[in-house]
């Protein structure tokens, strides 16, 4: 009898020890830390012939996996071994994986093919940008250069509290369906998405009539940080001029450390297709 009891207690303890072992080793320890996102070595989302995306994640034992079909990458997706080339527009999604750490968040980067003959011939700023972020003038918006996250290169036009108003002269005999504005949301740096965008069109450069409008879906929520591509449809075909008004967010909202002060608007590219 004594022996049976002892054995039973022994089994209970086995179970306990085993559970503790699993808990302490598997969940509490190894799964605790997540990898950061893979880095972009050379990357511009805009391309005319072929895009080349070079990634890096210099951590012994870590790998990068990616997809180009819009699905979320996992450790079963394509393994990144060399720079990726694409000819068509696509969204490249990547993660970093390591056996001792939780996989990174997925990073998505659009690769956007731009047809040169459809782009504006002339670009004019009807409202000046801030002298602090002048880019290289109006041409900044059609140079196919994505502004850097550090904001210090000359690929961004920054507008402090003011709207951006841009006049585009389109080439003759092209059919355009939509216009895309590439901008930035980085609320920690006081950069907010536009409050709205208005497109006006003209055939003579003098008389403008409304084409389309855009406004954010959740204007009252805290905007997500990251690149932002705002697409607006263009309908009439024989359009020669488009006036783009990108409205500044205005005053920083109450939750922001700079509440009440002027928000920044950042634009690096406008393209048509």
């Amino acid at each position: 009898m004594l022996k049976i009891l002892r054995t039973k207690r022994l089994y209970q303890n086995v179970g306990l020890v085993f559970c503790l072992c699993l808990l302490s080793c598997a969940s509490a320890r190894a799964q605790e830390f997540q990898l950061s996102e893979p880095q972009w070595q050379h990357y511009s989302p805009f391309f005319t012939d072929a895009a080349r995306a070079e990634l890096k994640f210099e951590m012994p034992g870590a790998s990068i996996f990616y997809t180009l079909d819009g699905t979320e990458p996992t450790d079963k997706s394509a393994l990144y071994v060399k720079p990726i080339q694409v000819q068509k527009s696509a969204v490249l999604k990547v993660i970093a994986v390591h056996p001792d750490f939780r996989a990174s968040n997925v990073v998505s980067f659009p690769l956007i093919r731009i047809e040169k003959q459809k782009q504006a011939k002339n670009v004019k700023l009807l409202q000046p940008s801030s002298p602090k972020y002048p880019g290289h003038g109006a041409a900044t918006l059609t140079d196919l250069q994505k502004g850097s996250p550090g904001l210090q290169d000359l690929s961004w036009l920054g507008f402090e509290g003011t709207d951006a108003q841009i006049l585009l002269e389109l080439p003759r005999k092209t059919k355009s369906k939509k216009l895309t504005i590439s901008c930035l949301s980085s609320t920690g740096s006081w950069i907010f998405p536009p409050k709205g965008v208005v497109l006006e069109g003209s055939q003579n450069g003098v008389d403008f009539s409304p084409l389309s409008k855009w406004s954010p879906q959740n204007a009252t929520e805290k905007p997500a940080d990251g690149p932002l591509f705002i697409e607006l449809p263009i309908t009439p075909k024989k359009l020669r001029w488009i006036k783009v008004t990108v409205q500044n967010y205005g005053q920083l909202p109450a939750w922001h450390p700079g509440a009440g002060k002027a928000a920044w608007l950042f634009i690096d590219e406008i393209f048509i297709d």
Binding site: L10, N13, C25, R29, A30, S36, P99, D100, S186
Partner: protein, 350 residues
């Protein structure tokens, strides 16, 4: 179950696990059991995030700014929470003392041995002052803005972030949130020199956040000053002549911490914005080459290059590391800015 039964069981379990799961066929779950290690080369660490964890109702913190250790191994930390601007820990992370209610911008913390007695120098960017105290908080001297220098309109422009104390008692103050000057006083508080200043030309500074005396070459000590927003470590002679800048792209280095042959840094972020939560730790060897980045990318120098490839965070261990302290066993203690009131962590060297 007696002790021996317990051991036998453990052995049986281990043996069983190994018999069933040989190395080459171990499923993912088994591999997950490896304890995560960060860092490179000789500087690799286990992570103990809970080392300094406290009850926030008892010892509240906002930002945990800087850490120093006294000669008997007590660890002092500045926080800008005026309930207890200084928390004193033992090596096991237990609180030994808490003091200070008059330092709303408690930031830099330096320990100086002056004729056998140890003192603390607290920089307060909010009060625009540097305060010298005993280890228990009695105020010895207050340094206000350097009016005599002619560089400052008023005290409000002076937002000191760090100090370094020379063996002769000279006090060097880095005005890292102000005008980025380095200001040198003698032991009695008389202005001796002012240099650096905000700018991009060689010898100027951009966010002169930290300063230390590099005594690794004892014949010729030099001043190390971090130019944090420029991702560089500027070197000056002790009389303020600019020597050179060590470029550390991707490393927003907070302050240099010289220990043995090495210099340790908390890297606040890898890239802007300033709240990007992309920090890690960085270690330079005696030649000022990066040898390890715990939580960051593997250091690499291209052939012939004197500066490393851009560095970045690889593991989200830390959000915004603000200071690092190295003890005599090689362990590191890390305090963080803007990290949800987290208490300091310890990295245990393996």
């Amino acid at each position: 179950m007696n002790r021996r039964d317990f051991f036998n069981l453990g052995a049986a379990l281990l043996l069983g696990a190994q018999l069933k799961l040989p190395e080459h066929s171990r499923p993912q779950k088994q591999r997950n059991m490896t304890e995560p290690i960060i860092g490179h080369g000789d500087f690799r660490y286990k992570i103990n995030l809970d080392w300094g964890k406290q009850d926030p109702a008892k010892y509240p913190v906002k930002d945990c700014h800087e850490l120093v250790m006294d000669r008997v191994g007590r660890i002092y930390m500045t926080t800008n929470d005026t309930h207890n601007n200084i928390l004193v820990f033992n090596k096991d992370g237990l609180i030994l003392n808490a003091w200070g209610t008059e330092y709303p911008g408690a930031h830099g913390l330096t320990l100086a041995d002056e004729n056998g007695e140890e003192f603390l120098y607290i920089t307060d960017y909010d009060r625009h002052e540097v305060i010298k105290t005993t280890l228990t908080g009695r105020v010895i001297r207050v340094f206000s803005f350097p009016a005599d220098s002619g560089k400052y309109k008023d005290a409000a422009e002076f937002k000191p972030t760090e100090t370094a104390i020379a063996p002769n008692g000279d006090v060097f103050i880095a005005d890292g949130y102000g005008l980025d000057y380095v200001i040198q006083y003698d032991a009695n508080g008389h202005l001796k020199n002012i240099f650096g200043g905000k700018g991009t030309e060689p010898g100027s500074l951009n966010n002169a956040h930290g300063i230390a005396i590099d005594h690794r070459n004892s014949a010729e000590p030099v001043l190390l000053v971090t130019s944090r927003a420029a991702n560089a470590l500027n070197r000056y002679t002790m009389d303020g002549r600019f020597l050179d800048a060590i470029q550390l792209p991707g490393a927003y280095i907070c302050r240099p911490v010289v220990k043995g042959d090495h210099v340790f840094f908390a890297v606040l972020i890898s890239h802007e914005p300033w709240d990007s939560q992309t920090g890690y730790i960085l270690i330079l060897d005696k030649d000022n080459k990066v040898v390890s980045c715990p939580g960051g990318s593997l250091p690499h120098y291209a052939a012939g290059s004197t500066q490393p490839d851009p560095m970045y965070q690889t593991v989200k261990v830390f959000k915004h590391p603000h200071d690092v302290l190295a003890d005599n066993d090689g362990n590191l203690y890390v305090s963080q800015w803007n990290a949800n009131q987290v208490y300091p962590a310890r990295l245990e060297r393996i």
